[in-house]
Assembly symmetry: C6
Homo-oligomer: 215 residues x 6
């Protein structure tokens, strides 16, 4: 691992020549961010494999997590760790490139949906309380949104929901920024390995992360 | 009953090894919470059976209450006791684990619906008064939500309804927290019994609760 | 008529044993409340029969009023008396049991609809003035609510309509509470007769109410 | 014409015995009110016939106005006179009976529609200005309201429209109250004649109104 | 041209006898107003023909403008001149009769639509900026409005759009009032000629307007 | 290049005679604006061809940009440069003619859509944060907007989105105005060349822009 800084921005993208190379580097850091946050959270599923081999337009890279057993219930602490993992890719881009890409769209949508569920379905927001709030419904026959009546709850409640979602995401962003700033050496190492090998399995990940425990 | 504390949190989950075991313990405390609140309320139906044998994804456990006779009318005092029983599982999780799970979703939805009905259909909110307020309508032909016109009532009324639902639920939460804190010994005993036997019937419940009347 | 108090609450429900008996008593007082208010209002139709024989789930009891002749126009004074009769059952429950039941739902819906019509269709609210305000529309083909466009009037008007409905109902509640408090002796007597006979006709009602004119 | 007062309320309804008689008297004064306002306005069409012979539920009475010629354009002054004629029946009820009936519903709806058109389609409100504002649309195939998108204009504009409609109607109400108070002798005479004859034609109306020019 | 005043109201309508004559005079002044404003604006198309021969209910009169060549782009200055021409008929009615008619409805709708487009589609409002704002959409299959989702933009933006439309129309109204007040002699002359001939072509218009250049 | 000013307005439109000529000049400057901004931005695709040969009503002219390679991810800096290119045509019209045309409609719609996506789908607005906000949905079967339920987010969020879109566009407008003011000589030269040749290819563009590097 040649570079040892943490917390400063390495404009590594500037030394690659082609747009395709820059794109691959972005994807590598993005996936490394997801993986490293997952490894840093006690309640997140362990990473089994990371890949930056493109699989069609929908996924330029992916980080696979294997749950250790079947689960039916999820605790609030587990859901918060999931939020962090969703944001790991985006925060890695911010830290490394000082620029952000359209590649985080799916992560952000899933993080927003999770935060909304925590607040509106699981009573996990102290501000909103124990009540549940209706979700957009979908027809059972067609995979399209249904025409619906007016919103069941008031504008003020809608505003409180928006604020709570924003707060959950902002808190997660801050936690993840802390984690990846602290573990920047591992982040760079993992991204570099991904750029070389394109696929990193659990064994390789364990070996790579072992010496960095001193961080 | 080996432990005698009440009001402090026993991190019992920390001594179980697997996630499945932890999940089972959560379910046991959740159902024990429902059952104990039902037994503590004069206008709630008596508990006939408690089980933590999973019945598909929809219900990991259940607490069966047998109404003693057919009923057509329900009094406000009875509805308030029902609210308390709905929240018993969630509050048990809070008190015992210091964490909450997704398992309370159905309870929270039913509690919210009941609170909404009390306010909008039965004139049981002093703040909202005797008027009724339309509910979301469903097509008689398809089990899907209907396209509807604009909300019949004003945003200010919608806000008042949201506030009253929140207040009904917050009051119930406070009452139930008091009950389960006071009866923590019974709660632990009942959850322990459920973890051992998986099913507790009325006779066993009576025997278990008998010595705790001194609480 | 053994008890002579008025304005204090007789916890008569406490002496009945079964829930079915308590329910029957609730229904008897509820119908007696409707009937007594109808008899106390100059512009209400006279009561022809009161019954607490259950007729399916929809009606546990009923109070039948016979209009003395065909009518096409209704005066505001007549509509106000109708509001009072709708609330008679609910107020009787409040006064006698200190608790309220779900049994008033239909009465409250009809009272709300009537109050809304007075305000939005008949120009009978000084605050809202002479304008009419569109009502929810129903398809002529299916008995289901129609998809509709945006509400014709402003949120501020919607708020004023809600306030006026609330005021009409609150005023009626106050008038009816006054009437039934004043005529508590008759109310108890009529409810007792209903519990004994289950059906009270006009002749019996006249006999029962005759001696109470001194109230 | 036996009674000569104006501006005080004659409780003439109190001397009739049956509800049908009272209803007929209400209709007679209602139609007389329409007719007398029409005769008092320079830009209203002349009355050709007044009748209180019921024509089904929809119209207990009617006042027929014959336009003197075909018209394609209407001036604002003419529309204001139409508003006054619409309110003539309602104001007559107020003045004579001190009570109002459901019989004015159609008049109020038509007056509201006219006022709305003046403001939203014809640019006749100084406050709203020259812009037009969309109206509720109806399907060309079915005589039912269409599902529509969101309201084209803002809530603040909706509020201004509501206020202007209210002001147009309140101003008309004041003008008509003035007219019918001034012409109370004619109003009583015309209503009395209608109660006797049930139909009054133009010639009879001319004769009846002739001597009252001195008012 | 017998009358030479400008800026005072000639109650010319008062000397005509029948309503049809008054209506014809209104139409003549209305069309003369359109034509004179079109002739006064550098970026408006020239008038080729004016007619007050009724063509069914939809158009009692018309002013025909011939574009001098095919155009695909329109400049803001041209659109503002179009607004002025749309309002020419209405302002002529105001100035001449001191009353306004329902005949301006189409003009006002077209002016409102044009103003809305300038603001929401062409970025021509400094206050609203360069963003575009969705318009009501129509089904491609049926000529009916589509059911739509919620409005894309906020209530505050809707309010700003309403205000800007109002401002564009109020400014145009002021400009047109200035123009027709200044050219009142020509307006009276053109209206008089239209009442005599019913159709005025370009040549006649040129002749009529020539001597008034001194205005 | 005969004229050397920059920043002042050349009323070149005033010397052309016909409207078609003026329209062609507008299109030439509009396309030259797009092209010059694209050439001035490091992250925009290079211009391959500019043409003012009309291709039907939809496009009077066009500027073709060729991406140098396939791209799946776009960085925020690239999206900002795209915004600038979209506004290049409109700003050129403003600077050169002191008037604006309807020709920028498509550019403004695409710029608005892009800005909205940056804010609501890609988490690129600091003010709105990382949450995603639902977009208007379209049926998968018909290319028409779907009837939808109420907006998922609050009015306050809708307002914040509107403000952020407005800010992104206003900032871009300011940047582009700076660029085209600085490069006015090249803008005039390119527009003049387009008016002469109607099509300008990459080679010609390179030659034309080369000497102006001194700007």
């Amino acid at each position: 691992m040649p570079f040892a800084l943490s917390g400063t921005r390495v404009p590594s993208a500037s030394v690659t020549d082609s747009g395709a190379e820059r794109e691959k580097e972005t994807v590598a850091y993005h996936e490394a961010g997801h993986a490293l946050v997952a490894e840093s959270r006690p309640h997140a599923d362990r990473v089994s494999k990371i890949s930056i081999i493109p699989r069609g337009v929908a996924a330029l890279g992916y980080t696979q997590q294997l749950p250790t057993e079947d689960r039916y219930l999820l605790k609030k602490t587990e859901l918060l760790d999931r939020l962090d993992v969703f944001l790991g890719g985006r925060v890695a881009e911010e830290l490394v490139f000082g620029d952000i890409s359209t590649g985080a769209r799916d992560d952000l949508q899933r993080a927003t949906d999770l935060a909304r569920h925590m607040i509106t379905q699981y009573g996990m927001s102290e501000h909103l309380g124990l009540g549940t709030f209706e979700e957009p419904r979908t027809s059972p026959f067609l995979n399209i949104p249904m025409a619906q009546g007016p919103r069941e709850y008031s504008e003020r409640t809608a505003q409180a929901i928006d604020e709570e979602i924003g707060k959950l995401l902002a808190d997660a962003h801050q936690r993840v920024t802390g984690t990846l700033t602290d573990r920047r050496v591992s982040l760079d190492a993992l991204a570099k390995l991904l750029l070389e090998k394109e696929v990193v399995d659990r064994t390789t990940l364990d070996r790579l992360l072992a010496p960095t425990h001193a961080e």
